[in-house]
């Protein structure tokens, strides 16, 4: 086949040389285009942002940024939370192509902070505007690596009309009262309570949160330091929570339900109460506008509590070559203007100090506690290996729901998993 090529030998050599030269030139041009210009004039005029929120949500916020900073060229790419975003960011950090501003979240904060991939924001003049709970979530050794502007709360969302049928007037003050309410509903032929089995339930998270309060708020740090254990701290909340199933108040079928399926049942009016977060409220109201709803906190023996967590925060790439522009973007994203626009788009419980959001009346009980940082979610508070432990916990809880294991065995299995992850 090569014999029949129409290119003669000398011409072929020239052709090959030109091809090689062209390729080298093209590669060199491409590489030059890829590289930044540290300290150059472009440094403060360009900033890249890898967004957690989708384009529709963030558009008004970013349009305002462009309006206020016409000289900065903002390049935005959008991830798909959670796994898609985390893995893409991981790859981009690894290859040295991470955006100037990206998102730090519960699922990657340990690796980001330990690896020194984000810039310390503790010296920024605006950092005082960030809520204390938000700062604490993304702080390591006194350095703040993320600026989160919102939090979410989780509790028991209830259908007022269905609860009125069993004479409900006030939210239960103790876990036993909550179980009694469930029993009344069940006796009246109403499905009392559902929670998705695909995550750590908010009801259990809040019960463990109460235990954390009893331990002075340092329960997880103490477990990791070996001062206490899951067995000593989780067994009681697990025993309380598992009464929902051992007393037949909730069907074991919930072990196979997703949060979306639970929400769908609630929207149809098939269940009186569900464990969910504030983020679900908007979609439920849109799907079932006639439902009369309210949130109540999860009652325990020593008071009541909310599940919840600080939302993902904005972080600046430690290796950015556009530091000034990146700082300007993050400063804008936490400003009153940006947070107000963001809140309008998402109805989130924003927590920055210079802006108080107007929230749905159903969040009136929850919002003050969330803005005050009075919430708990284990997988966010666990100092390391939270994703691995979260996955393990969900599987163990599904076994507990089915009656295949007991609360103390779940707690000791978590101790064993932690020991294994810590290489003990």
């Amino acid at each position: 086949m090569l014999d029949h090529t129409p290119v003669s030998r000398p011409r072929r050599k020239t052709f090959l040389r030109l091809t090689v030269l062209g390729t080298v030139l093209a590669a060199a041009t491409a590489l030059t285009g890829c590289s930044g210009s540290p300290g150059g004039s472009d440094a403060d005029k360009t900033v890249s942002f890898y967004s957690w929120d989708n384009e529709a949500t963030l558009k008004p916020v970013l349009d305002e940024f462009k309006k206020e900073n016409p000289s900065i060229d903002l390049k935005v790419s959008y991830g798909t939370p959670v796994q898609g975003y985390i893995s893409t960011l991981q790859t981009r950090i690894n290859s040295g192509t991470a955006a100037d501003v990206f998102i730090i979240t519960a699922e990657n904060k340990t690796e980001i902070m330990n690896g020194g991939f984000a810039k310390d924001l503790s010296g920024e003049p605006w950092i005082g505007n960030i809520a204390d709970a938000a700062k604490a979530t993304y702080t390591k050794d006194g350095k703040v690596y993320g600026a989160a502007t919102a939090s979410w709360g989780g509790g028991i969302l209830y259908n007022k009309d269905l609860l009125a049928k069993v004479g409900f007037t006030n939210a239960p003050a103790t876990w036993d009262e909550f179980l009694t309410l469930c029993k009344k509903l069940k006796d009246a032929g109403i499905t009392p309570f559902y929670e998705g089995g695909d995550g750590i339930p908010v009801s259990l998270a809040a019960l463990v949160g109460l235990q954390n309060e009893a331990n002075g708020g340092t329960m997880d740090a103490d477990i990791w330091a070996g001062k206490t254990s899951f067995t000593k701290t989780w067994t009681k909340p697990l025993e309380e929570w598992s009464q929902l199933f051992s007393q037949g108040l909730v069907l074991p079928s919930v072990a196979g339900l997703t949060g979306d399926q639970v929400t769908s049942e609630f929207e149809k009016g098939s269940v009186a109460m569900i464990g969910t977060g504030s983020w679900a409220l908007g979609s439920i109201q849109k799907a079932a506008p006639s439902l009369k709803l309210d949130f109540m906190p999860v009652p325990g023996d020593s008071g009541n509590y909310w599940a919840g967590a600080v939302s993902p925060g904005y972080a600046i790439n430690a290796k950015t070559e556009h530091g000034a522009a990146a700082e300007k973007l993050v400063e804008f994203l936490q400003s009153k203007t940006a947070v107000e626009l963001f809140q309008k788009q998402t109805a989130a419980i924003t927590t920055t100090k210079d802006f108080t959001p107007q929230l749905d009346p159903a969040l009136s009980t929850m919002a003050p506690a969330v803005r005050d940082g009075k919430f708990y979610l284990p997988q966010v508070t666990w100092p390391t290996n939270s994703a691995a432990l979260n996955s393990e916990t969900v599987s163990l809880l599904q076994q507990l729901i089915q009656g295949q294991t007991t609360p103390d065995k779940v707690a000791s299995a978590l101790d064993a998993k932690l020991a294994s992850l810590q290489g003990k």
Partner: protein, 318 residues
């Protein structure tokens, strides 16, 4: 490449019977041509298989978390932890159960289906298309649709039908460990039987009709024709089909994950799910790499064993 070069070096016999060896220059040109054709795929193979595989072997001896550039060497720690992790052992058990049961049951269902589809009847092409259809949509979509059908609440499609027909309460198809395992296998059989039946159908159509006519003249029954003509001639198809079923079964992730997310508990967790979750979600690339390396050997051994059995069968019937 090797085949092409080897054949080029073989002495050729000219029409008049004299040996005629290819000139060295021509051999060289042929070799260059072969390389030119092989080079693109060789580059892809090295870049997408050999390099990542080598990296996986390296990472399996380190504590690499996907971020740091200088991971610490941890020896065989990642391998020893694999055998201590109950979720990993559970994933291994379920993956083998899934691969073996789907391979056997799809084969058992696909051959009779292919025989039926090979007969002449009105609307045959439509029926063939209908059975092939489940292989067309994405498995993730099938998982979501079946999740809706097998919803363990009373509002689930299947539970609603059962309740209206028998008055029975909701059956926890995806919420009970045993039922969830069976449900994933049943959905897989539904999704794959049609595709494999079409594969068998292609081989059935290659069997000469004369064989059956002769056997009929000799007085063979329908079963005897199937046992002594059809089945032996389907052995090559079985080899292909079962190899695909077994390797896909061992590598499965999408269908069980979209149906049950690996639950309840660890009951439908697959090795591939563990690998993806450990490596990406949990930033334990070292541990996930150890699992990947071990998995590679296990799949290799199973496939070699299966090929040995199939070859023995082929020799017996050929």
């Amino acid at each position: 490449m090797a085949l092409s070069t080897t054949s080029a070096l073989q002495p050729m016999r000219s029409p008049n019977g004299r040996d005629k060896t290819l000139p060295r220059k021509r051999i060289h040109r042929l070799s260059v041509t072969s390389w030119a054709f092989m080079a693109p795929i060789a580059v892809v193979f090295v870049a997408l298989y050999i390099i990542p595989m080598t990296q996986s072997v390296y990472y399996s001896f380190t504590d690499f978390n996907g971020y740091v550039s200088n991971p610490k060497f941890v020896g065989l720690d990642n391998y020893t932890h694999l055998f201590k992790d109950p979720s990993m052992l559970s994933a291994l058990g379920y993956t083998i159960f899934y691969a073996v049961t789907t391979t056997i049951l799809v084969t058992v269902a696909a051959i009779p289906l292919a025989l039926t589809l090979n007969r002449k009847f009105l609307g045959r092409n439509l029926v063939r298309s209908a059975f092939f259809f489940p292989a067309v949509p994405s498995v993730a979509i099938l998982g979501l649709v079946w999740g809706f059908i097998l919803n363990p609440l009373g509002s689930g499609v299947l539970n609603s039908i059962i309740h209206s027909l028998t008055g029975l309460g909701p059956i926890p198809w995806l919420s009970d460990s045993t039922l969830a395992q069976l449900s994933t296998v049943v959905v897989t059989i539904w999704a794959q039987t049609g595709w494999h039946a079409v594969l068998y159908l292609a081989y059935l159509q290659a069997i000469p009709a004369d064989y059956y006519e002769v056997s009929k003249i000799d007085g063979a029954s329908g079963w005897q024709s199937f046992r002594y003509i059809t089945l032996p001639l389907l052995v090559p198809a079985m080899a292909v089909s079962q190899l695909l079923l077994m390797t896909n079964g061992l590598k499965v992730f999408d269908l069980p994950f979209t149906l049950t997310r690996g639950g309840p508990g660890f009951s439908t967790r697959t090795l591939t799910q563990s690998l993806i979750e450990d490596g990406i979600a949990q930033s334990r690339v070292g541990a996930a790499s150890a699992l990947a390396v071990l998995f590679l050997f296990v799949v290799g051994l199973v496939v070699l064993g299966q090929m040995a059995i199939t070859n023995a069968l082929q020799r017996k019937y050929s």
